[in-house]
Structure formats: C-alpha cells, structure tokens
Symmetry: C2
Subunit: 225 residues, 2 copies
C-alpha cells in the first residue's frame, strides 16, 4: 500500500483541515471567473498563505496537481469538497433565536454549500411560532423530537450563557456529536463530541492586548516599580 493508488492518508493534520475551507473559497471564486488551472503560488496568494504550506496541505489529500502546470480548479474543488464532506447535505439546527441566532438564520453566505438550516428553536414563548428566514421557530420542549425528525447532525448554540450547558447535554443525549458554540461558556462534553467555539469577546480581548503593546505596553501608564 504505497502512494500510488491510495495516497489519501486517514490522518489529515488539524491545521490543514482548518485551511481547506479557505482554499475552497478561493477556488470557487476562480471557477466563477472561468480560471481553469491554478499554480500553488497563485492559490496560496488568494488564500493568504505560504505556497509551500499550501502544497503540503494538498498533498495530504493526494497527488492532484500536475508538475509544470498546477492544479485543475474544478477537480480540486471537487476533491476538497468531498474531503470536507460537503458533497452531502448537513442539516443544522440553531438553538437560541435572539439577536445572534436571528442573524445566523438570515445570514445566507453562512449556510451556503452543503449546509441547510433545518430548525430554529427557542425557549421564549414570545418568539416561538414566529417565522424567521422562512422557518417556524419551535419550542425547546420539542428539541429532541425536532432533532430526530429532521436528521439534524450539527447544532449551533446561540443561547444565553446560562442555558448553553443544559441544551448541550440534551442534544448530545439525542446523538448529536458536532456543536458550534457561540455562548461564552466552556462546555463540558464527552470526547466523542466535537465542539467548536466562536467567542467575540475573546477575539476583542486579543486585539486589545496587541493594540496596547503597539502603544507602549502595560507599563507605560502605570510604571509600577
């Protein structure tokens, strides 16, 4: 079993996986502009990475380039899509239909290729029954039933921090193993479950740290010693 017919390794580095969507987006843009073939140099430029890194990333999927020529755009789009699992359709449920949940439901670009918002769920009787982005908001009591009925496999948590862990536990109990968490809490889950976290406040704090450094560091104003 050498790198002739089955070069695709089961273990793709996590860092590579995180960049594949970036390459895919750049490639989609190129495909729309009618570009047929692209070099690692150009694609790397479009994705904002180093070309050696790009080549190594792609080499983890297989040998899809042609030396002296580059990569076929359409073919590469297909291969990356398949590797990421975007050739199938993922049903996503958004739990928590506050400002953020609403924005996510309406954000077209977000749920694009491969993903479909299949359910909106909230606890507030005030919003249950509303129609948002063409979907009926259902009550949290229906959570388990809705997840099962619609074949939801990815849950987006946009609840208040206090509610997140409880909702998390419930969706895991019905078999969901992929969660995108917007609530500012550390979820505790079994390690069979994947949680990705998006935390706006943390991103701002990291920016503030660097901004402060540029301005002279934390000692400047205080001069503690």
């Amino acid at each position: 079993m050498k790198s002739t017919s089955q070069p695709r390794d089961r273990g793709i580095p996590e860092a590579t996986v995180a960049r594949l969507p970036l390459y895919l987006r750049a490639l989609h843009g190129m495909a729309e502009r009618g570009v047929a073939t692209v070099s690692s140099e150009d694609l790397a430029g479009a994705a904002g990475v180093n070309s050696a890194k790009l080549r190594k990333d792609l080499s983890h999927l297989g040998s899809y380039g042609t030396r002296g020529v580059g990569y076929d755009v359409e073919y590469l789009v297909y291969q990356i899509s398949r590797e990421l699992g975007l050739t199938q359709d993922w049903a996503v449920a958004i739990v928590g239909v506050g400002n953020l949940g609403r924005a996510l439901a309406n954000y077209g670009g977000f749920v694009s290729r491969g993903f479909r918002v299949a359910a909106l769920i909230d606890a507030d009787p005030e919003v249950v029954g509303d129609t948002i982005a063409g979907l009926n908001v259902e009550h949290i009591d229906e959570l388990e039933a809705v997840v099962k009925r619609r074949g939801v496999s990815i849950v987006v948590l946009a609840t208040p921090a206090e509610a997140a862990q409880a909702v998390c536990d419930r969706v895991i109990a019905v078999g969901v193993t992929s969660i995108l968490n917007f609530a500012p809490v550390v979820l505790s889950v079994p390690d069979t479950v994947d949680v990705r976290k998006v935390d706006l406040s943390i991103e701002l704090q990291i920016l503030a740290f660097h901004e402060q450094r540029k301005a002279g560091g934390p000692l400047m104003a205080v001069d503690s010693q």
Copy 2:
C-alpha cells in the same frame, strides 16, 4: 535583571494570550461567587485546560501565586486585565449594520468589560439615521471623521464580502491597526495591522469534516477504487 522584580517578559506566547481571556472569565465567575483563592488545578478545570499549561501561562505574566495556597482571585483578575489592556476603555466601531452588525451591537455580553461600541456605520441610506442599541447609524462617507472624532481604535467589519477590503483600506488609512473581520474574505493589510477573523462557514466546514469521519470517512459512500 533577574526574575525578582521585573519578571514580566515582553514576549508572551500567542497561545497564552489567546487563553488569558478564558482564565479571566472563569475568575470573574469565581469572584462573583465570593471565592477568594483558587488553585491552578481548579482554575484550569473551570477554563477547560490542563493545570500545567495554566501555570506556565500565568508564569509568563509574573509570579502571582503562592506555593501551597494558590492564586488570589481578585489580584489575578487585576493582573490579567491589565496585561490584556482591559483597564482602559476601547472604543469600537461596527461597520455594516445588517443582521450580524445589528446582533453585535445589541449583544451586551460581547461588548462588556473594557469595550464600548462608539459608532455604527453603514452604506445603506435605508438604515442610516436609525437608532440601534441606543446609537445613531452614521453614513459610510463619515467613516474617517467618526473614527477620528470618537477615538475608535478597534473596527469590527460586518459588511458584505465585496465591501470589506475597501472599508478595511479606509480605516487603516485613518490609523486603525486592529480589525475584527466577519466578512468571508482574506483581507490584505500591512503587517503593522492586526486582523482577527471570525468565519462561521469555516467553522461549520471543519465540523462537517469530523462528523463525516465519525460516520466512516469519505470513501464509505463512494468507494472510488
């Protein structure tokens, strides 16, 4: 110059900086519950990290713990806040007041300690003049003036993808060096500028990748060879 009085090293590892906000949040929770002192083990548990990592992270700020006892919660909150630059007040402008921008403006928890939404800016005459979260939405033509007048130092981009680079260039031209980008594009900026990216679609794709792996991998359905 040893580690007695000036232990604070100018170079805090990036990975550490990214975790400090997490520790800070856990500590705030503890402070509210009246906890006076915490061990690395307990704090690490609350933040979801390994205790050795936590201790090493904190050691980059200085020697703020007491052996045999732990860390003083209040004191550590102060030290981390100071290191992150949260003892000062950062004026944030949100550009793009669509669904997402609106959600961000209203999201109280997001702009919490140390941050203040100082301006909302949009190009659509339909929304310019509206009041959202107590703020008047201003026209994009006023961008430079508003940024200067309000002392904005961090800009949040919540525009459509097509507009993001242009807005980015403009705010950089007025001196902004910290940008939080929600638009699904790779911004090109001088390397004096910090850009952090939040991309919902990428997060979903990473989840899909792992979800597919759990289900048997991309070969299962296709069996290409």
